[in-house]
Amino acid sequence: MPMFRRILIANRGEIALRVIRTAQEMGIETVAVYSDADRAALHVRRATHAVHLGGSKPSESYLDIGKIVAAAKRTGCDALHPGYGFLSENEDLAQACKDAGIEFLGPPPHAITVMGDKVEARKAAAKAGVPLVPGLQEDVDAARLVAAAKQVGYPVMLKAAAGGGGKGIRIVREEKQLVEAFELARAEARSSFGDERIYLEKFVTRPRHVEIQVMADKHGNVVHYGERECSVQRRHQKLVEESPCVALTPELRAQMGKAACDLARSVGYVGAGTVEFLWSEGRFYFMEMNTRLQVEHPVTEMRYGVDLVREQIRVGAGEKLSPVPEPRGHAIEVRVNAEDPDKFFPSLGTLTRINLPGGPGVRLDSAMYRGMEVTPYYDSMLAKLVVHGADRDQAIARCARALRELRIVGVVTSLPVALATLRAPAFAAGDYDTSILESIDRKPTAQHEELAMLAAAAARFLGAERAGAAVESAGAARASAPRWAMVGRADRLRRTGP
């Protein structure tokens, strides 16, 4: 099968740029799609072609399957890359591409459907012999519940089938509380979700989020590229990812890799996918499979020296998987989001200044540019900083060093949280779980606070001084003066005024 001539990227931001870069290296043309807000976005400027989709709301552009497939047809694309987010795990887009004779660079629609449904995915995992969190899912009543809880061991969790995002979950520590808790949970579920189905799961203590990167071709070959640990998260949003995971033994890694490959094979998987597991006390349990390229895929790329997008494109074109290289060293990724580091509140604005990190072992995946406006329409992620080091200590030190080099002015970023994580003793020791962000002490030292106060006073002094000079030169270029000078000038005017 010949290689593709032109690929449409049904996405925006850094992932669209990521795909464009590899396509360019492979000599494949790219078609960017964009919304009103993204006319001047980097993915539009870097692609060979660009098609306007519509309004800035995702539903009017990046989520409109009809417009996207029409754009692909009109521009003569023979493949489509969905990126992550938006329509990347939408079986209708995969099917629409198939119907239009365009290669969807992801799994077949059936695999997306199965893995997109919690219950079906669990069944598929059980059938493929992948360990699940023990519990009782079906025909739950008080008597069966007591027996099941005894079997899996306390503490246990009662979860509302219709719940999600942490809602409708109850932890039960002793048998004598179980039946009462069940009745309460059921009543709660009925009133909150209109669905009283409750299921029981073993309470997994100190869980770590460990996922396996898999890749499959159309010839029945499935390989994995080891794991990524993504336990540093806030409200299920990952912030720092690393590979390898310090908690895994070679045996466990092999078992998890095999389980992930078996699951992919069982659903006829093609392309890149990630099987997410919970790790606890030396055991692992299936969580879900993401049927797309993940945000954090560069962690794997750095450690294995592989280009996963290239592999996606190659297997999409019908080629066989390349051999998996030997992994080496340690890789860490940090996501930099436009959000308040204390309240995790999104921060909007125009990026007035950007200093990018450099030096050995540093990679920055980002579509930001000076003058870019951060709008409320899309995800708040500005950049992914990825580093590679000979070992974990070097990678942590390198990541902290590069983070200190990265400066973004115009919006507030989550960068200080990432830096505090890298400095935290629990992270350095590798002894952490998904609750690590709650326990990190981010209070600056008294010495740092004093320096900040000194710097603030000095900056105000310099601002007032320069504004004074500006007043003396009779208001030249008044309109273009930066904001700090305006503040200083007001000081000065008041002082010299009547």
Partner: protein
Amino acid sequence: MKYTTKLGGVEREFVIERHGDALQARCGDKTFALDLRLVGDGSAFSLLVDGRSYDVVADIGREEVALQMLGQRFVVHVEDERERAAHAVAGNKVGGKQELRAAMPGIVIDVKVAVGDAVEEGKTLVVLEAMKMQNPLAAEAPGKVTRILCKKGEAVAAGALLLEME
């Protein structure tokens, strides 16, 4: 010029004077030799304190200076001596009106209180959605809700007044 700075409950007074190219800062009985240079066109500075180098990004507002330095973000309250004198005359207002404004453009997902409700500090008043995230906006001090100026489903601009309390 004398500056009073506040950060995290700590207050420090700095006296800054220029001596040719160099600045000198005094704080209590400590003296620092400063060299502060603007880099480029706006908010980036190179700061030398007794020869130690700090790369600083500062957004300088009238009362607050937001800094990125030492891998952290600091928002320092700064007053020069004249501002301090003016504030001392005005005195501190106790109680009074509280306003809840939208810090960013977004969509009002929920209004959790009604006019007349007595609320405690930290109570969620309005939930605002922006950038796919739901953000609870909480009361900064206890009080009574006197006016509600937004409704569920409404799109609001940055700075829009959402609610008033007393």
